[in-house]
Symmetry: C2
Subunit: 418 residues, 2 copies
């Protein structure tokens, strides 16, 4: 079994390592040797490991048109030209293994169709949850279920930042800077901190779980850059932890809810203990009940573990095919939740009654209210609502924002109880 590796960055190096380190025991198990024949890189000058000597190529066609290569492993990242290379590989009758969530989330449908036509495999276990086995369990182990809910912590960078903010009382900006210095966060961290990375993974999970084709643009997405020290502190006082949650649900009428944004989760939630670079995915199925998968969502070796497992599946001829219907997504305004709202207001009598009046007009009632003086003439007001329609919450906040007693609507965060 000869493979062509496209990309030799974090994950690519991991793949080389895993095959080098565990190759013998893999060969024993599957009865075939996995050999990396060629490796595509961009920069011919970079210093590389002796393990890859003589294998580097700069022209993708050397891999894509090599008849001896059965499997192309794409770990370059970015949408282009990875998409074009994957297509070409499939067209040439090669199976493809990829860790590229951007390509799979945006173009999965056409790529899967192409792979089915060409009777080859397209596998992408590493694209969601890094080393955590989740794609394959969804396809195989839970095949007897109707899955109706998926909930996860899918991004290690944001989870690390939120964990550090909580444990060390630091600001978002402070932790982010430190994480960048340590190499835990990218220099351009937008994809992670704004939730785009999690939304891509959620799109893939929803598609597989519900058998409905969901793309990242369908998903309401909000990151963690607006989470302040104050919110973290209030969350703790109220018995919650703030996590960036990716959520998908299919209703009886086949409509889908799908969003990524910060959520206050209760201390009892199995997601509460998921800290730092760990990811976790909760699945609810009609037969199996609740399941959780937990592990390292990124990193050289965990991600490579998933990529090499896919390669082994190709060797074992384990089919990867799938077909989906289109999804009917519920607008975020029509979803229902409890909310935490933090306002900065003039410290004057009567403000509270105006606020509760506006909320009341939208049919929104409150679980709890805390008011605190923050300085001379400003008060911080923290509200937790009962379950309410999100559109009405947004509408009420628009009105509240325009009250002349209100300096600003500082935060609005979903609250969940289990």
């Amino acid at each position: 079994m000869k493979i062509g590796l496209m990309g030799l960055g974090t994950v690519g190096k991991g793949v080389v390592h895993v095959i080098n380190q565990n190759g013998d025991s893999i060969e024993k198990r599957i009865g075939e040797k996995i050999e990396i024949k060629k490796i595509l890189v961009k920069d011919a000058e970079k210093k590389r490991s002796p393990l890859v000597e003589g294998k580097l190529v700069l022209d993708p066609m050397e891999i894509l048109n090599d008849d001896e290569i059965d499997v192309v492993v794409e770990v370059m990242g970015k949408e282009h030209p990875a998409l074009e290379y994957i297509k070409k590989a499939l067209e040439n009758g090669k199976s493809v293994v990829t860790a590229n969530k951007e390509v799979i989330a945006r173009h999965g449908k056409e790529l899967i169709k192409l792979a089915n036509e060409k009777k080859v495999s397209l596998l992408y276990e590493a694209s969601v949850g890094g080393g955590i086995p989740i794609i394959r369990p969804l396809k195989q182990c839970l095949a007897a279920n109707k899955i109706y809910e998926v909930k996860g912590i899918l991004n290690g960078t944001t989870n690390y930042i939120l964990s550090e903010m909580k444990d060390r009382g630091m600001s978002f900006e402070g932790v982010l800077k430190e994480a960048q210095q340590k190499g835990y966060a990218e220099l351009d961290p937008t994809d992670d901190i704004e939730g785009f990375d999690a939304a891509r993974k959620l799109a893939i999970l929803c598609t597989l779980s519900f058998n409905k084709y969901v793309v990242p643009d369908d998903i309401y997405t909000k990151g963690i850059s607006s989470i302040s020290k104050e919110d973290i502190k209030y969350a703790q006082e109220l018995g919650y932890t703030i996590k960036l949650i990716a959520y998908g649900k299919i209703y009886e009428n086949e409509k889908l809810e799908a969003w990524v944004h910060p959520v206050m989760i209760s201390k009892e939630s199995p997601l509460n203990g998921v800290n730092g670079v760990y990811n976790a995915i909760l699945i609810e199925g009609n037969a199996v009940g609740r399941l959780m998968f937990y592990g390292q969502g990124a990193g050289m070796m965990p991600t490579a573990s998933a990529v090499v497992a896919d390669i082994i599946d190709v060797v074992n001829h384990i089919p990867g095919k799938n077909g989906y219907e289109d999804a009917d997504i519920i607008p975020i305004q029509d979803t229902v939740s409890k909310y935490y709202i933090r306002l900065i207001a003039l410290d004057k009598p009567g403000v509270m009654s105006k606020i509760t009046g506006i909320l009341g007009n939208e049919g929104i009632s409150l679980v709890s209210v805390v008011q605190k003086e923050v300085h001379e003439d400003a008060a911080e007001i923290v509200l937790i609502t009962h379950h309410a329609n999100t559109g009405r919450i947004f509408k009420a906040l628009d009105e509240i924002k325009n009250l002349h007693e209100i300096y600003k609507v500082a935060s609005i965060i979903r609250v969940e109880e289990d």
Copy 2:
């Protein structure tokens, strides 16, 4: 795809339900209809669901010799005659799906060999962790790893009893009786409470994880019947929770450690939050790092979810073969751990120095000591040791037990920090 179901108890009924309820969506996914053709039962008089009308048979040969039946699903339980029926089915060229941990743990090696010879599948996802996908992830998703540690809460009954003892301060006997009345525990609970059920599941997990053939008799096994209210209370005071843990590890020299017994685990362990009927399995692999799988370890529908997933794999021709070497198990005396020891002693000066003297002679030092008067002339002494050789702990306790100041060695429980 026609199947023959052997057994129509808890799991068998679940299989009928799942196929009835989710059959259409399964057919859509796999492009084939799953039909239960015949069902073996023992008692012709029992009232059964209308779903099984006209399918019941009392003679196993009606299934085992029916050429139209491709897959035999064995959910009768017990070692015999299940083993004989499974063998016959394989010999007749039928694939077998089973939930029977006893048969797989004790006879897996010969059955797998037979299935390989006959080029049919033998699948047993439901035998460990009920609905939790664990067998298939171990075989496929983690195939690129050397797995070196497996740790789990594998028995729901004991986990439920320990959770209730902790939450409600009740005695072991009290909770067990209540659990039996509610149907959460069997009328003969020996297999569960003495750890035998967990040991069978651990044997299967170790075999798959380490590629070494482990049988239940290889596993040092101790249940929870000796755990007292006092131990639960002390554990909480010391910051631990008592769980029945199944543990397997492979060392560099290829020797195995494998045991099932109560352990005090720290509040930080991911296993700490696993309560009631939930099971969880932690896996450590050399590429993937730490993973956890969490879900319902038993019950009609979760277990059936796993059984039907196996049936679907047979339809999809996903191979189930495996080969193992024999295991070299380390005697429990040669393993190393911290220990919690509770003694009831005469409340007299000098007792403590005798005890620490004996421990010191065996090279065992202490992390902490608590002494409490329990009544007039008896004191309770609770010790936590540093890491020590288990054989030396046993030896020291033999000596301590014979001190005339000691009424009894009330408990000895392993202590783990992560």
